[in-house]
Amino acid sequence: MRIDLSSGGRRPWYMRLGMALIRWRTGIYAGPPLALSYRPDLFHRDFIGYVLRGMHGAGGWDKGHAELFGAFVSHLNSCTF
């Protein structure tokens, strides 16, 4: 049994609302925001902005490139996510 990230933690009400909206719209909890919002007090705003910038295309890459790169690294790590 793994840790249940959908409850507990120190997620403020607006993040709980955001997670619930994602689940209502997609039928699934979104792993990365679920993990990072579980304890938002531990993550500096600039750090979150950094990783989001990369995922939305920068440095001459577009979002499709970023998704390809992410899929490639997941493949190398044998990660199904």
């Binding site: 840790i3 990230l5 719209r25 699934i28 531990l42 500096h44 950094y50 001459g60 790590n77 996510f81």
Partner: protein
């Protein structure tokens, strides 16, 4: 395509980025100035390396977290719905390139400035675990990937098997691994912090190698940033 990326029908610049990501993920020790010089010859400029490296770091981090926490894998149209919602959230919160781009930590490691701030915040913020334990977990995972952190760290031995698996073979983490930590006296809140610290350490080493190589090649030698004092802003590499 992902299996045979060296022969895939993609532009050379994209293939060079895949080569960079493979090196960051599997062989970070080989990521040096000569390696990025070769990538430059293939048409991958420094900004392209830096931002591909950003994605590589992000996924090396989140893959470990996903395996440790058993993230649900979206299926069918869940993927597109989820992507649309995360895209919206990302547009709202994504950051801009920091100035300066690079920061030198007190131990001399070069990292993107935002990452250095994030790492220091994560490792020093009040939490369910002591900051010393998070630092030890982060350092242990980095060491398992071949990059010992300077200094002395004291990691409780019962955490070592879990953190080693997290650093090297996160996809092999099982329910039993997590249960054994609970049985050793770690509540879920502590396991969460230890997992995030270990994932951070394991993921950072490739980004640190890339940052060092870019910084050394492109920056004037006299202006390292000291993240402890905030003095002497590091230099944005030329050609950005």
């Amino acid at each position: 395509m992902l299996d045979d990326w060296t022969r895939a029908d993609v532009p050379e610049r994209t293939r060079a980025a895949l080569r960079l990501l493979e090196c960051m993920t599997l062989r970070p020790r080989e990521l040096d100035a000569a390696f990025i010089g070769d990538l430059g010859d293939l048409g991958l400029d420094d900004a392209g390396m830096r931002e591909a490296g950003n994605v590589g770091f992000h996924y090396n981090l989140i893959n470990r977290v996903a395996d440790a926490f058993a993230f649900p894998v979206p299926k069918g149209d869940q993927k597109s719905r989820l992507a649309a919602m995360l895209n919206l959230a990302g547009r709202l919160f994504k950051g801009t390139q920091a100035e300066p781009a690079w920061t030198r930590s007190p131990d001399g490691t070069i990292r993107p400035a935002e990452v250095e701030r994030g790492r220091e915040h994560f490792l020093s913020a009040p939490g369910e675990t002591a900051p010393e334990l998070r630092r030890a977990a982060e350092a242990f995972a980095a060491e398992k990937r071949g990059f010992p952190r300077p200094g002395t760290f004291s990691l409780p031995p019962e955490l070592a098997p879990y953190l080693e698996k997290l650093a090297l073979h996160a996809h092999r983490i099982t329910d039993e691994d997590v249960s054994s930590l609970r049985e050793a006296g770690y509540p879920d809140e502590k396991i969460y912090e230890i997992t995030m610290a270990g994932s951070l350490g394991a993921a950072l080493v490739g980004l640190e190698q890339l940052s060092r190589a870019l910084f050394d090649r492109l920056s004037p030698p006299a202006t390292p940033t000291d993240s402890a004092t905030g003095r002497d802003a590091g230099t944005e590499p030329a050609g950005q």
